[in-house]
């Protein structure tokens, strides 16, 4: 493994360099598509951090995306913040939300937590619609026009890379092992002296920051947000499917899942507007039935690879 390590690092460096250089050769559509892919990598990777590791399935993860979007949009429109610090503040807002919601909800066991998170997302969407003065209510918020696709491309890419690096660091640490004990057997973890609640809360916090930042960047990029566009359940489901497809609890699973399913969606969606949802549903069923561990999870078990694949 140590012999292969320099090669892996070189590969990663080449890949990052290619992605950094891409906008100089790519088409406008290509750059936008890549930006979207970065967003999905960050979202799927973040979901993996809490749900892939602790087994606590968050069905409301898009709430962190939505709160990040609104925090950023409000700071830009009402306080005239530049978009970069505003997006980072979106990450902070999501972290605060994670603490506030995690504190009561993480005391619930698995399925109840999943439902509570689903409820959180619905409640937030209603709240955002209600506080019209701040959020524009159902009419949404329009951001001042700005051509910033290229810098957003880089910041989005950096966020995706940061989430992936964070996943690597956690997975190779004993903190990561402790998070996994919660997934494996929470009672045994407690009996060994692991403060499972604090660990779950830390995981939820870490998993909220990425979506918060990405939500802010997406809001800036699109220039307009409304409650239904930033709190859709479909976004959470897409994150989950990407991770399950690629392999939960691994470093590269969310990246692989995001890449494959995003390309698939783009290719199919462009041709068959309605059919693509049907196909997406079929993929979900196929993954759950045929390879519940995902592509990399399967390889990991079969060839005894480390989780860092």
């Amino acid at each position: 493994m140590s012999a292969r390590r320099p090669m892996v690092l070189v590969l990663i460096a080449v890949g990052l360099a290619a992605l950094a250089a891409y906008p100089t050769v790519g088409t406008g559509y290509g750059v936008r598509a890549m930006l979207q892919l970065f967003m999905w990598i960050a979202l799927a990777g973040s979901w993996n951090l809490v749900s892939g590791l602790t087994g606590y399935v968050s069905f409301g993860h898009v709430a962190f995306f939505g709160i990040g979007s609104y925090a950023t949009a409000i700071l830009i429109t009402r306080a005239a913040w530049p978009w970069l610090p505003a997006s980072l503040a979106g990450g902070v807002a999501a972290a605060v939300l994670a603490l506030v919601i995690g504190y009561p909800c993480l005391r619930l066991k698995g399925p109840y937590f999943a439902i509570a998170m689903l409820g959180l997302n619905e409640v937030l969407r209603v709240l955002v619609s209600y506080f019209e003065g701040l959020t524009g209510g159902g009419l949404g918020l329009s951001l001042p026009t700005l051509q910033a696709t290229l810098p957003i491309y880089y910041v989005m890419g950096a966020t995706a890379a940061a989430v992936t690096l964070l996943t690597y660091l956690i997975l190779t640490s004993r903190f990561g092992l402790r998070l996994m004990t919660i997934r494996e057997d929470e009672i045994a973890a407690e009996a060994l002296g692991i403060d499972t609640f604090r660990h779950k809360l830390s995981a939820l916090l870490l998993s909220a920051v990425g979506p918060g930042i990405v939500g802010g960047l997406a809001a800036r990029d699109q220039g307009y947000i409304e409650p239904i566009s930033v709190f859709p359940l479909a976004t959470t489901i897409t994150m989950i499917v990407m991770v399950l497809f690629g392999g939960k609890g691994t470093v590269w699973g969310p990246v692989l899942g995001a890449a494959v399913l995003f390309v698939f969606q783009e290719a199919v969606w462009a041709r068959f507007i309605y059919l693509h949802q049907l196909l997406f549903g079929a993929i979900i069923i196929a993954v759950v039935l045929l390879m519940p561990r995902g592509v990399l999870g399967l390889l990991q078990l079969k060839y005894r690879l480390p989780r860092t694949i």
Binding site: R174, L177, T181, I187, A191, G193, I194, T196, G249
Partner: protein
């Protein structure tokens, strides 16, 4: 002052009194046995001591401190370790990782200690294997050495001998005796009478959630109430 004192502990599930006013005290550095027929409340009592069940009444004190209101991880961190009757290894963690999760401090030291303990139960070759792939007996041993990683002063073992083959069992019992020699206190639930009689200095007998006898193993074996509880009248 008793090392561990269990006083008037009660725990019911619905209408069933699983543990019904049990009291006993442990002194440090000895091996105790907890026996009784199926459903007599042994495991529930373990769960009450380790905080997995909240008591309906009574109290548990460890080194003079009341612990029955603490969360399980806090009780564990005060020095009470346990194993489970139904194996609870972390299946998708390797055998070594199972031991590492509870450690702090430099990782190399923790890994060395983990490997030493795996060697103790002859599992060093399987350190990198997922615990879920090990046999029942091997998982049992992983669970046994995992609890030692936390360096507990009091160890509760729930049927450590069940499913472990004879050769390994002797090693395991020798290891338990060594733990006592190191000054640790051990309370074990066991069905295998030979194990209990050979190892324990003092035995508590539960029946229908109540303590019906207490004493050295030789006397317990001859106690009429115990014989009745086990074999019927």
């Amino acid at each position: 002052m008793a090392f561990l004192a269990v006083e008037g502990v009660r725990k019911s599930f619905g209408g069933v009194a699983a543990v019904n006013g049990v009291s006993f005290a442990l002194e440090a550095g000895r091996i105790y046995g907890l026996i009784g027929p199926n459903g007599s409340g042994k495991t529930t009592l373990f769960n009450c001591i380790t905080g997995l069940e909240r008591l309906d009444a009574g109290r548990v004190t460890f080194k003079g401190e009341r612990i029955d209101r603490l969360r399980p991880y806090r009780i564990a961190n005060r020095g009470i370790g346990r194993t489970f009757q139904v194996i609870r290894v972390f299946p998708e963690l390797t055998a070594l990782e199972n031991l590492l999760v509870v450690t702090r401090g430099p990782r190399v030291d923790a890994e060395r200690r983990g490997r030493e303990l795996l060697e103790l139960v002859k599992l060093e070759r399987l350190a990198g294997e997922y615990a879920g792939n090990l046999s029942y007996g091997q998982q049992k041993l992983v669970e046994f050495v995992r609890v030692l990683m936390t360096d507990p002063a009091l160890i509760l073992l729930d049927e450590p001998a069940a499913g472990v083959n004879r050769t390994l069992l002797n090693d395991l019992l020798a290891a338990v005796a060594r733990l006592r020699d190191q000054g640790r206190t051990i309370l074990l639930v066991e069905h295998d009478m030979k194990v209990v009689m050979g190892l324990c200095e003092m035995v508590f007998v539960l029946d229908h959630g109540e303590k019906i006898a207490e004493g050295p193993p030789g006397l317990i074996q001859a106690d009429e109430r115990v014989i009745e509880a086990y074999f019927g009248r």
